[in-house]
Symmetry: C2
Subunit: 493 residues, 2 copies
C-alpha cells in the first residue's frame, strides 16, 4: 500500500480513531449501561449459534471496513451479548456494575501497561501494594505479601506452588523427581480449580484428597484429621489444606479455626480459597464466618465477584514476610529486571509472578474503594445477606419452592417443584422428572430473555437452582420478580 | 447506613455513575490519547516512589469521596502513568494504540463476562473461534484447536502441559511420581517463561536444557540433536522442543524446518514461541522467517505485542484435532458445564482452560482485524521492518553507535559509545565503563521524560540498548529523534 512508502506518515489516523472511540462510548452508555441495566429490557437476546454467526458476519478478510459498518458491529456485539449487569442476571458469581470501577477499567485499558516494573507502571505498583495492604488488614495481618492473579483458579495454584516450594525448595530446579508423593486436602465441595491446579503442577488429581462435608457443605475437621493420618501412614507427604470460605454452589464456610489447629499440629500450609466469600471480611456483622482466617498462610479473594470490581480481579494474599513469592517464582531476567537501575528495584514486582505480561487489575478496585469507602463495600455485603434472607423466607412461604438447606451466605439453593410433580415424591421416576425441571425452566427463561439463573446437580441431588443476589443494582422487587418468574416458567411442565 | 434498610433502593446511582464515567472518558481522550501520543508532550513524568505515593494519596479509608475528588484521582493516575502509546516509547515489546482495538476493549469491559460458556458469552465464543481460525490459517493449518491465555508465558506453559499429557496421560490423575525424568529443550536466548513453566509444572528448571545459539541468536540444530541424544543416554525422556520465533532481546528466528526434522526423528512435541515474532505471518515479504511453522504442534502468539491489540492478548494455537486441550485440562464441573443444556455444549469452551474465569481477549483483535483487514496488519509489520532497517543504516553512519549484529527482525541492539570512551577499547576497565553508559542514559531520559528504551546485559556482553520500533504511530522523524536523543543524553559521560 502507498502508506508504506511514506515513512513520515503514521499508520493511525488519530482524529478518525478518536471519533470512532467516542461513538463506541455512546453505544456502550446507551446499550450496555442504560438499556442493559433496565428491568424493562431483556437480559439476553437468545440466538442459536448458527444464526448468530450469520448475524455477526464473523469472517476476517483481507481488506478493512468503513467506520459506519464497524459501528454497526459494535452495536451488534452489544445487542447479542448477555447483559451481566442487568438486575435479573443471577447466573454467576459476578453480576452488576460499579461505575467507578468501570472508570478505572477504561483508564487501565487506555494506559495499556504491564504490572512488572516501577519503570513502566509507577502508579500501579504503588496502587497494587496499597490495595493488598487494605486486604491484608481485613484478613487481620499487619504485614505480608501478595499479588493479583488472572483469576481465583490461578491464585489457588500459586498457593499450592508456594506451599510445596516452602517445604521442598529444590523442586524449583530439580522438579518432583525423587521426592515423596505430596497430598493436598480440600473439601468435597471445594472449587474444581484445586484439582486443575494439582494436575498442572504435576501433583495429580488423585493426590487431592476430598474431605467429607456436613449437611451445610462445610469441611468436617475430624474427617480431615483422619485423612491426613491415613495419607501419612501410606507414605504420602501432606503439605496443604485448601479450605473454602464461600463454596461455589452452597456458599458454605469451612471452620477455619478448627482447621488451623490441625494445620499447626501437622505442620501443613493452610490456604483459604475465599474467592467467593472473602468479601464478608468487610462486614462487621458477617466476618465471623471467616474467624481464624488470620491463621492461614494464604488467602485467595476475588473482588470481581461479590464486590463488583469487574472481571478480572483476584488477589492472592500471603502472611509470609520472607519474600517467598519471589524466591519461588523468580527467573531474574536481565532484560526486564536489571539490578543496576537508578531506583529501588524492589519496586519491580513482576518476578513474583509466573506470568511476564501481567494486566493491571488493581486500579479499578482502588478507585471503587476510594469512591464508596470500606463502609460502602460493607453495605453491599450486608445488603446481599438481606436479599438472600428475604428470598429464603419467601420460598418457605410459597408452594413449590424446596430449599436444599438453610444458607449461611448469599447462595440460595432450591428445587422448584412444578404443580404436576407435587405430592408425587414416592413415584419411582420422581427424581428423574425433577431433574428435568431446572434445565427446562432455564431454556424458557433464556429464550424469553427475562432473567438468568444457574442450576446444577450435586452428588446424589438432582438439578437444583442456585440463585445469588448480591449485585448492588438489585432491589427487593427483583427478588419478587425472580420468584414469580420461576413460578410462571415452571407452571406447565 | 440508611440505604441498607430500604430494600427497594439499589445501592448504585446510575445517573451520577454515568456522568462520572463520561467525565473519565473525556480525561482519557484528552490526557491519555491526545496528549499521551503527542511528541511535544512527555513520555513520562518521573517521580520518586515516596513522592508519588504522597501525590496519589493512596490510603483506603472507611468513607467514600466526592465525585470531584475522584475525578482528580483519575487525572493524577493518567498524569503520572507512563504513556506507552507515545511514539517515543520504545521500552517494551508493546507500544502504540489502535482505536478500534481500544473500542473493543472498552466494550469488553462494559459487557463484563467470562469466556467459559456459550450461555453467558455467545458472541465471544464465536468470535474467539473465528479469530483462532484466522490465526490457524496464517500458520498454515486448515483445522486445529486453540485458546486465548493470560499472556504468552501461560501459553508456553500450556504447550508444556499438553505435550507431557499427550505422552503420559496418566500424569493428570497420578502426577509425576513413578515417571522418568522429563526434559525440555530451548535455546539459550529463549524467553524466561520456559523456565518458569518448568518450575511450576514440577519438571524443574534443571530439566530445561539450553541449546546453543549462533551469532544471530538462533538455535543451532546440531547442538539440539547432540543434547537430545545426551539426555536420552542419561535416562531422561525428552518430550518438547520450545523454539522461538522472534527472541525477546535480539529478535532471532530459530530455524523451524530444521528443528521440525529433529522433532519428527525423536518424536518430540514441537512448540513455537512466536509471542513476539508471530505477526510476521501477516507479511508475504517476511513470513519466510517462520518457514516450517506449520509442522509445529503448538504455537504461542501475542497480538498484544507487535499488532497493538492491547494487553492482554495471547493465543495458543494447536494443530491437534483430538480435543487434547480439553482432555488435558477439563475438570467437568457440573455447576458450569452441565451436559443437559438446551444447546450444543461443545460451545462451552471453558474447560479447555486451567482458569475458571477467563477474560475476553479476542473481541479487540477481531474488531481491529475487521477494521484494517489482513492487509492493514501486513502493512504494520512491513513498516516496522522498514523503520528498523532505517535505524540500522543510520547507526552505521553515525559515530558512537555500535550494533551487536545485523538484525533479522525489528529489534535493533546496540551500544552507544560516548565520546569519552571512543578509541579506549583496549583499556582494562573499558567494558566496565561501557556497562554504565546505558543505565545512565536511561536515567537521564526518564528524568527528562523525553523517551524510553530498554537495555540489558546478555551473556558476556555488557549493557546494551534494545530499540524496537513497530508502533503504527511512529514516523521516520521519531527514528531520527531517537538517534539524536541518545547522542544528546550520552554526550557528557
Ligand atoms: C470458591 C471458588 N474458588 C475459586 C474460584 C475460581 O475463581 P476464578 O473464576 O476467578 O478462577 C471460584 C469461581 O467461581 C469459586 O467459586
Ligand atoms: C519470546 C517471548 N516469549 C514469551 C513472552 C511472554 O509473553 P507474555 O509477556 O505475554 O507473558 C515474551 C515476552 O516478552 C517474549 O518476548
Amino acid at each position: 500500500p502507498a502508506l508504506l512508502h511514506d515513512l513520515n506518515e503514521p499508520l493511525i489516523e488519530h482524529a478518525e480513531g478518536q471519533l470512532f472511540l467516542t461513538e463506541t462510548f455512546k453505544i456502550i452508555l446507551e446499550e450496555v449501561l442504560c438499556k442493559g441495566t433496565d428491568v424493562k429490557e431483556k437480559v439476553c437476546e437468545w440466538k442459536e449459534p448458527e444464526e448468530l454467526a450469520v448475524l455477526l458476519d464473523l469472517e476476517l478478510r483481507d481488506t478493512g471496513e468503513p467506520q459506519g459498518k464497524l459501528l454497526k458491529r459494535v452495536k451488534d456485539v452489544a445487542k447479542y451479548s448477555i447483559k451481566t449487569s442487568h438486575p435479573r442476571f443471577f447466573n454467576q458469581l459476578f453480576a452488576g456494575v460499579d461505575y467507578h470501577s468501570m472508570a478505572g477499567r477504561f483508564l487501565t485499558e487506555a494506559l495499556n501497561t504491564n504490572l512488572y516494573t516501577y519503570e513502566i507502571a509507577p502508579v500501579f505498583v504503588l496502587v497494587e501494594a496499597e490495595v493488598l495492604r487494605g486486604m491484608h488488614r481485613l484478613v487481620g495481618w499487619t504485614e505480608g505479601d501478595g499479588i493479583f492473579c488472572p483469576g481465583g483458579s490461578i491464585s489457588n495454584m500459586y498457593a499450592m506452588n508456594l506451599a510445596r516450594y516452602q517445604l521442598f525448595p529444590e523442586i524449583k530446579s530439580r522438579g518432583l523427581w525423587g521426592l515423596p508423593r505430596l497430598t493436598i486436602f480440600t473439601s468435597a465441595e471445594s472449587h474444581y480449580s484445586v484439582k486443575k491446579g494439582a494436575a498442572l503442577l504435576g501433583i495429580g488429581t488423585d493426590h487431592v484428597i476430598l474431605v467429607k462435608v456436613d449437611d451445610g457443605g462445610r469441611m468436617i475437621p475430624e474427617d480431615l484429621e483422619e485423612k491426613i493420618k491415613l495419607a501419612k501412614s501410606e507414605g504420602s507427604v501432606p503439605f496443604l489444606v485448601s479450605c473454602t470460605s464461600g463454596t461455589t454452589v452452597k456458599g458454605a464456610f469451612d471452620p477455619l479455626d478448627h482447621i488451623a489447629n490441625l494445620c499447626e499440629k501437622y505442620m501443613l500450609w493452610m490456604h483459604v480459597d475465599a474467592a467467593w466469600g472473602g468479601s464478608v471480611l468487610f462486614s462487621s456483622k458477617h466476618r465471623h464466618l471467616m474467624k481464624g482466617v488470620d491463621r492461614a498462610n494464604s488467602v485467595a479473594w476475588n473482588p470481581h465477584k461479590m464486590l463488583v470490581a469487574g472481571l478480572q480481579c483476584s488477589a492472592l494474599l500471603l502472611r509470609d514476610t520472607t519474600n517467598l513469592l519471589k524466591r519461588c517464582h523468580s527467573a531474574s531476567a536481565t532484560y526486564l529486571f536489571q539490578q543496576d537501575k537508578f531506583y529501588d528495584v524492589n519496586l519491580d514486582t513482576g518476578d513474583k509472578s509466573v506470568q511476564c505480561s501481567r494486566k493491571v487489575d488493581c486500579l479499578k478496585l482502588w478507585l471503587m474503594w476510594k469512591a464508596v469507602g470500606s463502609a460502602g463495600l460493607e453495605a453491599r455485603v450486608d445488603k446481599a445477606f438481606i436479599h438472600a434472607r428475604y428470598l429464603v423466607e419467601q420460598m418457605k412461604k410459597r408452594e413449590g419452592f424446596h430449599l436444599l438447606g438453610e444458607p449461611e451466605f448469599v447462595n440460595v439453593c432450591f428445587w422448584y417443584i412444578p404443580p404436576s410433580l407435587r405430592g408425587k415424591e414416592e413415584n419411582a421416576d420422581y427424581q428423574e422428572q425433577l431433574s428435568k425441571v431446572a434445565p427446562l425452566i432455564k431454556e424458557r427463561m433464556m429464550k424469553e430473555g427475562t432473567m438468568m439463573v444457574g442450576y446444577q446437580p450435586q452428588e446424589n441431588r438432582v438439578n437444583f437452582f442456585r440463585v445469588v443476589a448480591f449485585s448492588p443494582l438489585i432491589s427487593q422487587k427483583d427478588m419478587d420478580f425472580f420468584l414469580n418468574e420461576i413460578e410462571r416458567l415452571g407452571k406447565n411442565m
